[in-house]
Each structure stands twice: as structure tokens, then as C-alpha cells.
């Protein structure tokens, strides 16, 4: 069983192995990767680990209740994630593609709303910025 939180690069194959089966003809995978923006060189992810794990289990349970034939797995990476690397991966397999897409989309939207995870942008000059997705990032830069 893959951990929901990891400090290592995410393996898509490991996630797929946990959701795919011959009964499920459609699989939808979502990968969230660190995007180039201004002078950001990477993002340091941190979490309230115990709550994040509980919340992920609740989100997956919700998805399995809504789409009974679907199986969904999620892994979120913590620690420093460089530009272009994946911070999150979700794999949803279902008998048909509609449910696979819907379950995968549902899970990423709930993650954004519910997961106690935080991002600290690392800038080229070594300063850092906490990201507040509800508004603009706090531009007050704290020395690292």
C-alpha cells in the first residue's frame, strides 16, 4: 500500500497498480507539478501530517461512495519539490471513462478545499514566500 504522503518522487506506476483491474476499462490520472512563475525555483511543501492523512482517506471514501465501481488513490509529496516535478498524483480507475474522469476531478477539487498542506515558494535569491491561494501570496519575504 502506497503512503498518502511521501518525501520521495511520486511513482505513477505504483498508484496505477493500486487502482487498475480488468474490471475497470477507464483510468484518469491527474498530476500537479510545480510551475515556473517569476523567480521561483521550487516549492517546499509541509503538512499537518496526521490530519492530511485522515482527510485524504475521507476524500477517497467520499469518491468511492459516489462512484461505486471506481477505485481512487492519491499521493501528495512533501518537502522540497523542484520546478516541473509532481507535488500530487491522483489515479482513478472505473468501469467506464465518465466515472474515471469525474472521480479524479472530484478528488483534486476536494484536495484543494480540504487538505492541510502548505506551500513555501523558494526564490532564486534564497528568500521564501508562503502561498495563500485564497488571495495573493504574502509578498513579505522572510529570510530563509
Amino acid at each position: 500500500m502506497t503512503d498518502h504522503l511521501t518525501r520521495s518522487p511520486i511513482s505513477i506506476d505504483a498508484l496505477l497498480a493500486q487502482v487498475q483491474s480488468a474490471e475497470r476499462g477507464g483510468t484518469c490520472v491527474f498530476l500537479g507539478t510545480v510551475r515556473r512563475e517569476d523567480d521561483v525555483t521550487g516549492i517546499d511543501y509541509s503538512a499537518y501530517d496526521e490530519m492530511a492523512i485522515s482527510e485524504i482517506k475521507r476524500i477517497l471514501d467520499d469518491a468511492h461512495a459516489r462512484w461505486a465501481g471506481a477505485r481512487v488513490m492519491l499521493q501528495h509529496r512533501l518537502g522540497l519539490v523542484s520546478l516541473g516535478e509532481a507535488s500530487i498524483a491522483i489515479a482513478a480507475a472505473a468501469p467506464h471513462r465518465e466515472e474515471a474522469f469525474a472521480a479524479c476531478r472530484y478528488v483534486i477539487e476536494e484536495v484543494k478545499k480540504r487538505l492541510p498542506v502548505w506551500k513555501k515558494e523558494i526564490h532564486a535569491d534564497g528568500t521564501t514566500t508562503w502561498v495563500d491561494p485564497s488571495g495573493k501570496p504574502h509578498r513579505e519575504r522572510l529570510p530563509q
Binding site: G32, S46, A47, Y48, E50, M51, A52, S54, E55, H76, S87, I88, I108, V111, K112, K113, R114, L115, P116, V117, W118, K119, K120, W130, V131, D132, P133, S134, G135, H138, L142
Partner: protein, 83 residues
Amino acid sequence: MANVTVRFFARYAELTGRESAAIVVPGNSATVADVLECVRETIPGARDLPPRPLTAVNLQQVKPDARVRDGDEVALLPPLAGG
């Protein structure tokens, strides 16, 4: 009276310079809002917390009027940024 553990994360841990605190809230019907008030009064830097931060009790998000009980873990959560 309730003994609770308050946990601080991300920017809030930086503001208060700590990751957790043992807080004692008076009364028999203390709420998360009461805990927050105690935190503000007793922990340096906690005055800079927003007026209504997201909060969780025992790993579940709650509103400020949620009751706290002895032994609860109360967490103050900066704006969520997962994904």
C-alpha cells in the same frame, strides 16, 4: 476547564516561533474561539494571527464555536494550499 494542545503550522508556526503549546482554557463549555483568545493572550507573536483562522479539532475542521474537551488537539491552519 480544559487542557488542550494547540498546534501551529506553516506561517503560523513562523509567527509564533513554535509548533505547539499546552493551553488551559477556563470554564465548562470552552470553544475553539476561547482557545484562540488564550493563545493570543499568552503566546508571543500570536497577536499577528488573523482574527478568524481556519481551525481543526482532533484532525477535523471545525467552526470557532465548536466545543473543546480535555485532551483535545486544536490546530490553527493557514490558508490551505495543497495539490
